[in-house]
Symmetry: C2
Subunit: 153 residues, 2 copies
DNA sequence: TATTGTTATACTCTATAACTATA
DNA sequence: TATAGTTATAGAGTATAACAATA
């Protein structure tokens, strides 16, 4: 006689959130291999570099609104990037509480090198899918994201 | 005159790996809210509970093969679960290097309570998509996973 | 009083590798 | 020699909150 199962079984390998997490890890490692390899950035540093490369002069506060990073994570990452001379800053004259952050020449150079590599890695990953499939995937993930966020409230 | 951009710009919010990572975090928090809330399990502990609830008597080595956990992560999680009396163990008689792990009655009770809740949370998340869309999503993620793994080698 | 950003602290997680016991 | 599992240790990341400067 078999043990009575009172509920649907949970097979970890078929459990959507688990599978998603494993895939996320693989994707993340692919991208991280680009920015950790030669320039030894942390994930937070890489995100800040990406943001500031695109939009100069942001404050830490603005970066919190554009990324999932919190203010002390940013403060620490900035600290490290400052000592590696990737970032310089000025105080906002109109409101001295704000610091305006910029990439240094060195920071910009690294940014210019990394962006094509990272975009290329993204492209490589996505060659697994046709253009239509990529579009479909984005739609599905958007729906899922909306629901996941809703459920967290 | 505008600054010359020598490459395609990288907009973090539209960068697939970034979006994926944000979504993963939201999904993971949804599931974690179930197993951390009442029983205060860590993610590793939860995964081990899920595995052992399904298959009794596994060794730590076997668990490494069924999850993304490594042996010392398992060793530590087991340690904590042992002191919370969720797990008991016996030595394999044929090869004394192997430990066979089992849920205690208490561990099983928690397992029986958590599985329906966790599956329900998964279901809630997936209501964002139709059955067809869920199937499609799984196919697309599988393809992506294959590619991501391949690129890591 | 409220906000920006820094710092302190304690905690969790991770990675590497040395260690034991068994084979 | 090789394997299963434990332990030590240092580093990275996280969460909470107190803090200084400015508004």
């Amino acid at each position: 006689m078999q043990k009575t199962v009172k509920h649907k079984p949970l097979i970890l390998n078929k459990f959507f959130p688990y599978r998603f997490s494993i895939l996320q890890q693989a994707i993340s490692e692919n991208i991280a291999s680009v920015y950790t390899g030669e320039f030894d950035l942390s994930r937070h540093e890489w995100r800040i570099l990406a943001i500031l490369g695109e939009q100069s002069g942001l404050s830490a506060k603005q970066i919190t609104l554009l990324t999932s990073l919190e203010k002390m994570q940013i403060s620490r990452a900035i600290n490290s990037m400052r000592s590696n001379e990737l970032i310089k800053e000025t105080v906002n004259i109109k409101d001295k509480r704000f610091t305006q952050l910029y990439l240094t020449d060195k920071g910009q150079k690294i940014y210019q090198i990394l962006v094509p590599r990272v975009l290329n890695k993204e492209k490589e990953l996505l060659t697994a899918l046709s253009k239509d499939e990529q579009k479909k995937l984005n739609q599905l993930l958007d729906k899922l994201h909306q629901k996941a966020t809703l459920l967290l409230e």
